[in-house]
């Protein structure tokens, strides 16, 4: 076990006077441990299913069910074209949903994310006509950061509930967006702008998708291996080799199939790469840094976090800044996907969809529990439904709304039922 010496010093604890006093094992003998071998895994899996500790499994199952049902209904739902389309349209709201996950982890909500996306899109659109592209993009994204900072400040420093601040933002920024757009109702993406590429550029070389897939799998494997060996060295419970291999294998299959799918069509979409990078970075921040730990702490109990010396106000402000920034990035994706900034960009059901994505993916609305990956899973579910319903050519769109509502509900019911078992098993 190696730590930085400084931290080591800080964590000093007086040695017990009587060495025998430390004889009591810290681990409870009643903890059921997994038996060795396959049977152990099977037993544990059964127990986990029964007690509901199944993580993202319900959503993944839901996704598969959606795929199968639409395939049965339309006959051509599971195609590489659809995979491509779903990814393309999922990226924007998905990135916004990542920001929402941060806010939800605090137990708060950001109702302004759609309007922020719209405003950022307009800012970029207006500036892009008389500025270098990159500067316009930067300013567009910064405008989102700024709005987020504003929400955060009013919330953290003045104490207005986040719901109300962002509700005011939802109204106010949408107004500002119309005002920024001025006379124009739409500003088409300038030719050659990077924003256009966001959803149009593909790494068409077959090697790109496969290469990325291999790198991801390898990185995953090595990280797991390293962690496991460090834990073994420190005599802590660790994952056995076999389990690491199994997990890596599953991931590899998934990732390679996706890569194959993309290569069948136009190659690896840039939008996916950006979305994945954002997911990886935010996941790292939340799980492996002090900052992330503090976000969870504030979400779990403000008073406890405050007494632990965490600067609660700063955590709140920064989280809203992250949400604003990612909202703005999402806004550029939305603009890219439809061919430019417009007055209604980010409006409509966009907001509800982002929040729904985060929640469907399993992030709690009450703070302190969730992962950024839920944004990915949730938006895939929602976007698959949209795509599938569009393909069904329903007589009336009224029915489409109803079906979206129903599917949304069913997806979460599956999740809730499993979590209910979990709750009654004392782990929620």
């Amino acid at each position: 076990m190696s730590t930085t010496p400084k931290a080591d010093e800080k964590a000093q604890v007086p040695e017990p006077r009587t060495p025998e006093a430390a004889a009591v094992p810290a681990v409870d003998p009643r903890l059921l441990v997994r038996e060795r071998g396959i049977k152990g895994y099977a037993d544990e899996f059964k127990r986990k299913i029964r007690s509901g500790e199944i993580g993202s499994l319900p959503v993944v199952v839901g996704l598969i069910v959606i795929g199968v049902v639409f395939q049965a209904l339309t006959g051509n739902f599971i195609t590489s074209y659809n995979l491509d389309q779903i990814t393309l349209y999922a990226a924007g709201p998905g990135i916004m949903a990542v920001g929402i996950v941060f806010v939800l982890l605090l137990g708060e909500i950001d109702l302004a994310v759609g309007s922020v996306a719209g405003l950022a899109g307009s800012v970029w659109g207006v500036l892009a006509t008389d500025m270098p592209d990159s500067l316009a993009i930067l300013l567009g994204i910064l405008s989102g950061t700024l709005l987020g900072a504003f929400h955060g400040l009013v919330f953290a420093k003045i104490g207005v509930p986040a719901f109300v601040v962002t509700l005011a933002g939802f109204l106010g920024w949408a107004g500002l967006q119309t005002w920024v757009m001025g006379e124009k109702s739409t500003i088409p993406t300038p030719i050659g702008s990077f924003v256009g590429d966001l959803t149009k550029y593909y790494f068409s070389d077959v090697a790109a998708a496969y290469g990325l897939a291999v790198v991801v799998v390898a990185a995953f494997y090595l990280a797991q291996l390293r962690d496991s060996s460090r834990r073994r060295a420190a005599e802590l419970p660790h994952r056995p080799q076999s389990e690491i291999l199994l997990r890596t294998g599953l991931l590899a299959v998934l990732v390679l199939v996706a890569a194959y799918g993309f290569n069948q069509e136009k190659g690896l979409p840039l939008s996916l790469v950006i979305f994945l990078v954002i997911l990886l970075v935010t996941d790292f921040v939340l799980r492996r840094t002090t900052y992330g730990r503090q976000v969870f702490a504030v979400g779990g109990g403000i008073e406890a976090a405050r007494r632990a010396g965490i600067n609660v106000a700063w955590i709140r402000i920064s989280v809203f800044m992250i949400s604003g920034t990612l909202g703005a990035v999402g806004g550029l994706f939305l603009a890219s996907a439809t061919g430019g900034a417009d007055r209604s960009l980010g409006g409509g059901n966009q907001l509800m969809m982002c929040i729904a994505a985060a929640v469907i993916g399993g992030t709690s609305l009450f703070g302190g529990r969730g992962k950024v990956w839920s944004a990915l899973l949730g938006i895939l579910v929602l976007q698959s439904i949209v795509q599938g319903l569009n393909q069904l050519n329903l007589e009336s769109n009224a029915i489409q709304y109803m079906i979206t509502g129903a599917v949304l509900l069913i997806a979460v019911i599956i999740d809730s039922v499993s979590r209910k078992t979990q709750k009654s098993a004392g782990r929620a």
């Binding site: 076990m1 190696s2 730590t3 930085t4 931290a7 080591d8 010093e9 800080k10 964590a11 000093q12 604890v13 007086p14 017990p16 006077r17 009587t18 006093a21 430390a22 004889a23 009591v24 094992p25 810290a26 681990v27 409870d28 003998p29 009643r30 903890l31 962690d227 460090r230 834990r231 420190a234 005599e235 802590l236 492996r288 840094t289 002090t290 730990r293 503090q294 969870f296 702490a297 979400g299 779990g300 109990g301 008073e303 406890a304 976090a305 405050r306 007494r307 632990a308 010396g309 965490i310 600067n311 703070g367 302190g368 529990r369 004392g426 782990r427």
Partner: protein
């Protein structure tokens, strides 16, 4: 025992809405001294230590640290001075696991990244020092028993390098063995030259480890006694404000019945 107290409170006032909770309270803690703070329920003990810990700002009065007046308006201020506090209501983050709670605000890092392995190992060591069994240090503290949570909160105060440790009823939920360990711990802290404020309703514990007993009654000082020369009864009389109280009556009755 040094001459200037490490921590001194002078004339502390604190009011909540229509309740004047503290009225001119004084308290001194020296290095290597264990001060027991006792008093009836609602006397204002927890409120007093919360003002030291920076949870509530004081209305009036002075907090002195090593002789200099300081302003303590946030928990960070107090922590930076070197005060570690175990709150009566524990103040743990229910959603975080035992390890994360123990190191919250003082995470061990390696190259800027959380060093979970080091923290987990240290956590196990810390907890076994306090004789507690916990199913796993990776379950959320919400799933722990009352005593287990209390031990986690106590262990939290030992991570870091405090000069004063405040323990607000640390043994209330503890079993006999764990209580003994905590009393041992308090003695070790004193030996290492730390100042300790111990709030407890258990007179036996107080008499066992404290050097001085400060009594709070209805938000005012009601005497400071050296433990060595004070009897149980005197302290209880100071706490209840009367020599004829439920405790003495009960004792008399029980004694009668035993005859």
């Amino acid at each position: 025992m040094s001459q200037t107290p490490v921590l001194a409170l002078r004339g502390i006032f604190k009011r909540f809405g229509a309740v004047q909770v503290l009225s001119g309270v004084d308290l001194e803690v020296h290095a290597g001294e264990v001060v027991a703070l006792v008093g009836d329920n609602g006397a204002g003990k927890s409120t007093l230590v919360k003002t030291i810990a920076g949870v509530h700002p004081i209305d009036e009065g002075v907090i002195e640290w090593e002789g200099r007046p300081v302003s303590v308006s946030r928990p960070q201020d107090s922590q930076h001075l070197g005060v570690a506090t175990v709150y009566q209501d524990l103040a743990l983050c229910d959603n975080l696991d035992v390890v994360a709670n123990l190191f919250l605000g003082r995470e061990l890092k390696k190259g800027g990244v959380l060093d979970e392995v080091a923290m987990e190992k240290r956590a196990k060591d810390l907890l076994s020092t306090l004789s507690i069994r916990i199913p796993s240090v990776r379950i959320p503290v919400a799933a722990l028993s009352g005593g287990q949570r209390q031990v986690v909160a106590i262990a939290r105060a030992l991570v870091g390098d405090p000069k004063i440790v405040i323990l607000d009823e640390p043994t209330a939920a503890l079993g006999v063995e764990q209580t003994a360990q905590v009393l041992d711990l308090v003695e070790r802290l004193r030996e290492q030259g730390l100042g300790v404020i111990l709030i407890s309703h258990n007179m036996a514990d107080v008499k066992a480890v404290a050097d001085t007993v400060a009594v709070l009654r209805l938000g005012r000082n009601n005497g400071t006694f050296p433990v060595a020369t004070t009897t149980h009864e005197e302290i209880i009389a100071a706490i209840t404000g009367a020599t004829d109280n439920a405790v003495t009556r009960r004792k008399a009755r029980t004694a009668e019945a035993a005859q």
